[in-house]
């Protein structure tokens, strides 16, 4: 049952060293503020799972908190490579990084299977793709009706899932709108779930009966963090800060620049820093 609480407390209660952790949001609603709090609290040996590790995991990797990364596209979307990730894979800096790499289709299906309580997902995939030869977690089954060979991957069930959403109500129900990615799946598939939101409202008002809503009893902690997705965005609240994504390429290129930036903007900052990016109704 969702407790409405402060970010510090939500992370402290639900994250542990060595956790299998998934921070999701497909370009949209990436939980940057929550990620920063996890970094501040110093958790390490994490196995991080995310379709697009992106800037948010580049920070964990560059800070040496990640043992293993499960992913399907490790770029800075539209900008270029993910430079702290590169440094870890190519040079083991600041430490070696174990990787489990999939295609988007595989991970989307694996999250779906995780939410559905199945041990694995099947799909028509990986045909002629070399990943199937380097990742032992890609197997296959034969359709018992047609004999067709289909790819199989294990379901994703994180120890803790963290997402960002637009709104929660007082009961802790969470509503998500726009590019909804795998938000529902990662929460329903996880043992524990934290949701940061732009606003907590009395009720959602006159929304569609089919609005994407996670009932409060599927969530452990709901935290109000206005602007908490920045530099990602919140549909209906504020736009993606594309200029910042471009700038990340410069920040992450050099180890010292990166560490200084992290010290100043993450380690010595707090969730309030995100407040200035919040903006109801702006794009």
């Amino acid at each position: 049952m969702a407790q409405i609480m402060e970010l510090k407390e939500a992370i402290a209660e639900n994250v542990h060293d060595g956790d299998f952790m998934a921070l999701e949001g497909f370009t949209h609603l990436i939980p940057h503020a929550a990620a920063h709090e996890v970094l501040r609290q110093g958790y390490k040996d994490l196995t991080l799972c995310r379709m697009t590790p992106d800037m948010i995991y580049d920070q964990f990797i560059g800070m040496g908190r990640v043992k293993k990364l499960v992913f399907s596209y490790a770029g800075n979307p539209g900008v270029g490579l993910l430079l702290r990730f590169r440094d870890a894979v190519e040079n083991a800096w600041p430490q070696a990084l174990e990787i489990e790499e999939h295609s988007h289709a595989a991970m989307a299906n694996a999250y779906e299977a995780g939410a559905a309580g199945l041990p694995c997902a099947i799909f028509r995939g990986y045909r002629g793709a070399e990943l199937a030869e380097v990742n032992p977690n890609i197997k296959s089954i034969l359709c018992p009706f047609t004999g067709e060979k289909l790819a199989a991957v294990p379901a994703i069930n994180a120890d803790v899932a963290i997402i960002h959403a637009q709104r929660a109500n007082r009961a802790g129900d969470v509503m998500i709108e726009g590019i909804i990615g795998v938000q529902k799946e990662v929460v329903l598939g996880a043992k524990r779930a934290i949701v940061t939101v732009e606003e907590i409202v009395d009720d959602f008002g006159d929304v569609s009966p089919n609005a994407v809503i996670l009932p409060g009893w599927t969530i452990d902690a709901v935290v109000r963090v206005p602007g908490g997705a920045h530099p990602s965005y919140a549909h209906g609240y504020y736009a993606r800060d594309n200029a910042f994504y471009k700038d990340w390429d410069r920040i992450a290129r050099d180890r010292d620049t990166f560490l200084q930036w992290m010290e100043e903007h993450v380690i010595n900052a707090g969730p309030d820093a995100f407040g200035r990016y919040a903006g109801k109704g702006s794009r």
Binding site: G75, A108, N242
Partner: protein
Amino acid sequence: MSEPTLSEIMTVTAARALKNTDVCFVGIGLPSEACNLARLTHAPDITLIYESGTIGTKPRVLPLSIGDGELCETATTTVSVPEMFRYWLQGGRITVGFLSAAQLDRFGNINTTVIGDYHNPKVRLPGGGGAPEIATSCGEIFITLKHSSRAFVDKLDFFTSIGHGDGPGHRARLGITTKGPTRLVTDLCVMQPNPDTCEFEVTSLHPGVSRQQVTEATGWPLKFANQVTETAAPSDVELDALRALKQRTAEAHEGA
């Protein structure tokens, strides 16, 4: 209006390959530019789909990422990512997948994963993302990227997604029923697979480009089709639409 650059010819030529009735799965970067140009010129009703879940999107500016807000705001509907990959891509509803590449071989196989050895790479690239299943689930695949011998290689370092594999019949042997790459547009030429060998060969050269220029920018012994035409130059309408799109995009991304 100033003369078109080779980059502009590439985008215009890539855009022309799309039909008004196509349902197109759009990769970010050059494919997105070509697909939106098609929509803004000869194919106003084309359905553009981005893997972020946005279906029938009509962005005013080019998205920087695969999931910019503009894509969702202008879409017919936005679905979850599992639904996108299951119902829309795997469901066989996409007529054209439009991809780019870091490395490409003569059979249209693509590498976007690593330069060097997978377990000990020289350069770790982003990886496949949606490409492995886009390459096999879409009716056909168009590819667009800039010509260079670093990109057009004799042998891929990693086989991220399949084109024609090792040649005729390879896709069929893997149970793939779609056509695979049928068209490759670069900043120098247009290439299409030879119907007998499946090997990409030059079918048209962009205005002012020589055979030697293309051969030197290609890392495999390049072949030319029996008939090589000259790529039709961009019209003023096309060029105007492309330049306005890029101008709007630059302004929007700076202002963000």
